[in-house]
């Protein structure tokens, strides 16, 4: 069972985030776009945190977040966007959708370990 779902179309980025989280006691699942992410989340109720890129093929990260909240009706899972986007309009859309937090890449694991543990009930 996974605590965290990492969604990114870049296998390098998935590797960086998931290996850091695994080394720090998280169970990690991965998906390569928003569509796969939705499917993963649908079949694993143990996921407490979704860490997702925005710009991805097939389905982008914000659309996935919107579907998690509205179509799956999942209001509990924490959704953190991990993205190069720092545009205020895009952030505002994320906030409106119900995204929990925002990280501008690059990923620095040590900076987010505390909150991630709390989100997953590991603190």
């Amino acid at each position: 069972m996974a605590h965290v779902l990492v969604v990114d179309d870049s296998s390098t980025m998935r590797g960086i985030v998931s290996s850091f989280l695994s080394q720090n006691g998280f169970d990690v699942a991965v998906a390569s776009d928003g569509r796969e992410g939705l499917a993963e989340l649908g079949k694993d109720p143990a996921i407490r945190l979704v860490v997702s890129d925005i710009n991805m093929p097939n389905m982008d990260g914000l659309t996935m977040a919107e579907k998690i909240r509205n179509e799956l009706g999942n209001k509990d899972v924490r959704i953190v966007m991990l993205t190069t986007e720092d545009n205020s309009a895009i952030r505002a859309r994320g906030r409106e959708i119900g995204v929990t937090g925002w990280i501008v890449k690059p990923f620095r694991g040590e900076a987010v370990l505390g909150p991630f543990r709390k989100f997953c009930g590991l603190a």
Binding site: S10, S11, T12, M13, G15, I16, S19, F20, V80, T83, T84, E85, D86, N87, S88, A89, G94, R95, V99, T100, G101, W102, I103, V104, K105, P106, F107, R108, A111, V112, P115
Partner: protein, 321 residues
């Protein structure tokens, strides 16, 4: 406001006369030229070794290569091999150039003022503000360090190039669009050196899988994405996200490792060296960055934008909503 920076350009120097040689050497210092002095015999080989040349300085009375070919024949041979390189011919005679010779020689000169004008027109036709060049180096170095946290990252002095030859086997291309520029950024590196760097432990543990070419492509792709994101966040104001339709074809020749963006303007080029702090004797991994503003370039627009910079993002920090 940001002043244009003095960027270097590498120029092949084919000059035998000691007085002219010294005068050109001093001239090069003032204009920011990195001169590569060579003889007629090794001129063509030098073209092959130095893909990143900006031009050629050639004396009309340069002694030949021993096979009877003179400087004007050499100019034509250089032009055939590297037609993008402007040739600056120091004239010694009043005899008009033949048609083929004139086609090969971009600029003929007899005095340094004429040469300066010709070089400023062709080698340094785009001015890159110092603040922009420094900013690009800073954000790129930071992105490279975040992807290769165990490598020492240093950059060579930025310079301008006219060649269209791709360095190495792995390259990426991403569009850059702002109110003050439109063009592309490329990253280029050698596949085997990148694999070797990852085997030495430059990257994160476990990242890159079995380091096949797809994994290595992806690694350079993600590095490009990080640089692009940082560039966008720092230099692209929100009003730049307007619909921009103009495009030009990009020509790629895989056999020749050649890419053309349809512009003759000099490209900003920066080489980054990634070395292993535990094995200082090993050759570094080289990543070459090129910026090609072929669709729009307005240093004045950049200056206006740079005068009122946007707040920079705290990368890597979690902002809770």
């Amino acid at each position: 406001m940001s002043e244009p920076t003095t960027l270097a350009a590498k120029v092949l120097l084919l000059e035998h006369d000691p007085a002219h040689y010294q005068a050109l050497w001093d001239f090069g210092q003032t204009l920011g030229l990195v001169l590569l002095p060579r003889s007629a015999t090794d001129a063509l080989a030098t073209l092959a070794q130095h893909k990143d040349l900006g031009g050629v300085l050639l004396a009309e009375d340069l002694p030949g290569d021993g096979a009877g070919a003179g400087a004007l024949a050499l100019a034509q041979a250089i032009h055939r091999q590297r037609p993008e390189l402007p040739i600056f011919l120091r004239r010694c005679s009043a005899q008009p150039l033949g048609e083929a010779e004139a086609r090969a020689v971009a600029h003929a000169w007899t005095d340094l003022d004429t040469l300066r004008g010709a070089m400023e027109h062709s080698l340094f036709s785009l001015r890159y503000p110092t603040e922009l060049v420094n900013g690009i180096v800073e954000l790129t170095s930071s992105a490279i360090r975040s992807m290769f946290p165990h490598a020492l990252v240093a950059n060579e002095p930025p310079y301008v190039v006219h060649d269209r030859i791709i360095f190495g086997q792995v390259s990426t291309l991403i569009a850059l669009e702002s109110t003050w520029c439109r063009g592309y950024m490329m990253l280029q590196t050698e596949e085997s050196a990148l694999r070797q760097g990852m085997m030495q432990g430059f990257g994160y543990e476990g990242v890159g899988g079995d380091l096949n070419f797809r994994e290595l492509n992806n690694l350079l792709g993600e590095t490009t994405n990080l640089i692009w994101g940082a560039f966008k966040n720092r230099y692209i104001p929100p009003q730049a996200f307007a619909n921009q339709q103009t495009q030009v074809p990009i020509v790629i020749n895989h056999e020749q490792k050649y890419i053309s963006f349809g512009s003759q303007d000099p490209q900003l080029c920066i080489r980054y060296q990634l070395s292993d702090p535990r094995r200082p004797g090993l050759p570094p991994l080289i990543i070459v960055q090129r910026l090609i503003f072929n669709l729009l370039w307005s240093p004045e627009g950049f200056n206006e934008f740079a005068a009122a910079p946007a707040a920079q993002a705290d990368t890597g920090e979690l902002e809770l909503f």
